[in-house]
């Protein structure tokens, strides 16, 4: 029997490589980018990024906010629940597949030519390079776009971005995330004999949904108790119950007062209530807050455990000591001219003196350390002590977008020159034919 229609895999292949799909995805990306950009005016960069660009589907569109961002005076609220608009993550995945099938695999001749190019150049067989297939430039441009999308994926999953706050004379080898919240549980007493402190970590994704009365119990075989985390607040502050009337749970005269969420997500100070249940059945309630000066202590037999809510900490492969912080201002003003952190990098037994200043980061072993901000405080002896906040970034695909842009530029240039040469040749042929006739 003669097949009169293509099979499903063939249909799928045609669908995913089609130019129509590329056009649709790019149009949707344009819409998503536009909505995400204008919604960030009221929802902040972090929230918009999560909702529009790091999602499979966009859950809702704040139409009222979008109207206001476009200077249309609408004061009401209008949240349009919508799950049919694909998010940036899904769109970029589809675009990547589309580019791969339609822009790379389709150009078989060009792929083979490009694959053999390095060997031919190294062995000096330049004659075999000609004739070059005509869409080599297009292939390079498509490959660059796929590479850029891949760089974005790597950055999304593996980029670490945080800050390290150091007082003058202080040393550290870890930095804290700007956004990721964690609850850590550590045995405080007796301290480990070998000095190696270890904490158990509950990722923010496992408790940040526990709002308005919701709770979840976390257990571990190595813990002498179980912890129920409840009533998580994105931005809050402990308040004294004797100073303010409240219907919230009060623990040791404190309760968590929720605050309006900040547009800059890193400025929020999150908190939660916990209920600890010991193995003998005894219970203890407590409050966790990100800026608490000490962990919540839990006595379990002879041991004391500490529970704290922090930003996720990452280790550096070296230690940094802040030796001196210098703040230079323009003469007669308070306007900053230059902030400089003089640091010592202690790496594999070597002490290296380095400078981190504005626009001149310190780069070492894949990490970039930027001077971010500074603070002045009073030491115990009354002297002024300066501290520096150093932004630490570790991104394996840091320079990949730049490489991809350059490659795409080269590809398009090759294609343009190719087309120009073809046009000129054809024009010359037509002119000579006209002359001959």
């Amino acid at each position: 029997m003669k097949p009169d229609s293509p099979s499903i895999p063939v249909l799928l292949f045609r669908f995913f490589r089609s130019f129509g799909l590329a056009t649709t995805v790019l149009t949707l990306l344009l819409i998503v980018t536009y909505l995400g950009t204008i919604e960030q005016v009221e929802h902040g960069l972090y929230e918009s990024q999560k909702k529009y660009f790091e999602s499979y589907f966009v859950s809702s569109i704040d139409v009222a906010c979008c109207l206001r961002a476009m200077h249309i005076p609408y004061q009401g609220t209008f949240d349009l629940p919508i799950y049919i608009l694909p998010g940036g993550y899904l769109l970029m995945l589809v675009l990547g597949v589309n580019m791969l099938l339609g822009g790379i695999i389709r150009l078989k001749k060009e792929c083979v030519w490009l694959a053999k190019l390095p060997l031919r150049v190294v062995t000096g067989r330049f004659a075999e390079l000609s004739p070059a297939p005509r869409a080599v430039g297009v292939l390079i441009a498509h490959m660059s776009i796929v590479f850029m999308l891949f760089a974005g994926l790597i950055s999304l999953y593996f980029k670490k971005d945080g800050a390290m706050r150091l007082q003058e004379g202080q040393t550290s080898d870890e930095f804290q995330s700007f956004h990721n919240s964690v609850i850590e549980i550590e045995r405080l007493s007796p301290a480990p004999k070998d000095g190696k402190r270890v904490s158990m970590v509950i990722d923010g994704g496992q408790y940040q949904d526990l709002v308005e009365g919701k709770g979840r119990t976390f257990t571990s075989k190595t813990l002498p108790f179980e912890v129920m985390v409840m009533n998580y607040e994105v931005n809050c502050v402990p308040r004294r119950a004797d100073a303010q009337e409240t219907n919230r749970t009060v623990v040791e005269n404190f309760f968590l007062q929720p605050l309006k969420e900040e547009l800059e997500q890193e400025r929020n100070t999150d908190g939660a209530y916990v209920k600890v249940k010991l193995k003998d059945g005894a219970e203890k309630e407590g409050i966790l807050w990100r800026f608490a000066g000490a962990p919540l202590s839990v006595q379990a037999g002879d041991e004391v455990w500490g529970i704290s809510l922090n930003r996720r900490a990452w280790k550096l492969p070296f230690s940094v000591r802040l030796d001196d912080f210098k703040r230079e201002v323009h003469p007669g003003t308070d306007k900053a001219r230059r902030f400089t952190a003089e640091v010592t990098v202690m790496d594999r037994g070597n002490d290296l003196k380095k400078i981190i200043t504005m626009n001149e980061p310190l780069r070492s072993r894949g990490f970039a350390l930027f001077q971010q901000s500074f603070d002045m405080g009073q030491a115990d002896d009354g002297s002024v002590r300066e501290s520096s906040t150093i932004q630490v970034v570790h991104n394996p695909s840091d320079h990949w977008p730049l490489i991809s842009c350059i490659a795409a530029g080269i590809g398009l240039l090759i294609h343009m020159v190719w087309q120009l040469v073809r046009y000129l040749r054809r024009a010359a042929k037509e002119t000579s034919a006209l002359k001959a006739s």
Binding site: D4, S5, I8, L11, L12, F15, E42, S55, Y56, C65, Q75, G76, L90, L93, S172, D173, E174, E184, E186, L188, R197, V198, S199, M200, D203, G205, Q206, R216, T217, F218, T219, S220, L223, N235, V237, P238, R239, E245, V251, E252, N253, F254, Q257, P258, L259, K260, I287, W289, F291, G293, A294, P295, L296, S297, Q299, V304, G306, S308, A313, K315
Partner: protein, 233 residues
């Protein structure tokens, strides 16, 4: 033929839906009641060990004071001495704002209210007529992105009791851009009473998201009526 094409289209659609569902699968997280802790990390040797058996006061007090969320001592200067001359009663659910919250430094009494403390109400006093009633009302109008009141409109504004006297009450909606704010807060309502006299002008201003201010309208009236100079009592 049509039937066959319909079947192929359905199969294709089903495959695309299945693919989309499979790709969305990692985003779904099971919300269970109990969860095992599986992650751990080595703590830096440079990190200070946590205080053992610290009380809530020791855990939160220093940070709240360092962040200006709690007052360490009574504020100094003219504003504090003026503040000492007043008495007031905070309505239920209202609380004094943490130290350092006042962007202008002009607030004698600075209250916060609302589920997330997004509403503000404060008392300020200026010597003399402070530019006059019209200039002050229109300053508020400007902060809300509204056109100036005309003299007729001002004359028709209602009166409310304040400071054992009568004050002019104004209430309007808009986008609020107060002192030190880089961007306007949308959908806000301002309600305020001004009592202007030769010796001094007293302002009570409530500002916040429209729904929050609306819900606290009665509390605002109670607060205004409770403000009295100490010598009167």
């Amino acid at each position: 033929m049509n039937l066959k094409s319909d079947i192929i289209t359905w199969k294709l659609t089903r495959s695309v839906i299945l693919l989309a569902a499979l790709s969305a699968l990692p985003a779904c997280k099971r919300v269970g009641e109990r969860m095992e802790i599986t992650e751990s990390r080595d703590i830096s040797t440079h990190a200070a060990p946590g205080d053992v058996n610290a009380t809530s006061e020791q855990r939160f007090g220093p940070a709240l004071r360092a962040m200006g969320m709690e007052k360490t001592e009574a504020p100094q200067g003219q504003q504090s001495s003026l503040r000492d001359l007043l008495t007031w009663t905070a309505p239920s659910g209202w609380a004094e704002a943490p130290a350092g919250s006042d962007p202008s430094g002009m607030r004698l009494v600075d209250m916060r209210f609302g589920e997330k403390q997004e509403g503000e109400c404060y008392i300020s006093i200026m010597p003399g007529p402070a530019g006059g009633l019209s200039a002050n009302l229109n300053r508020w109008r400007k902060q809300m992105g509204q056109p100036d009141y005309t003299e007729d409109e001002i004359a028709k504004l209602p009166k409310k009791p304040l400071f054992k006297r009568e004050g002019v009450f104004a209430e309007f909606d808009g986008d609020y851009k107060g002192v030190g704010m880089s961007e306007a807060s949308k959908g806000y309502r301002l309600a305020g009473v001004i009592h202007s006299a030769e010796q001094a002008t007293i302002f009570v201003k409530m500002i916040g998201p429209k729904a929050v201010v609306e819900a606290n309208a009665v509390a605002f009236d109670q607060f205004c009526q409770s403000i009295t100079p100490k010598s009167i009592e």
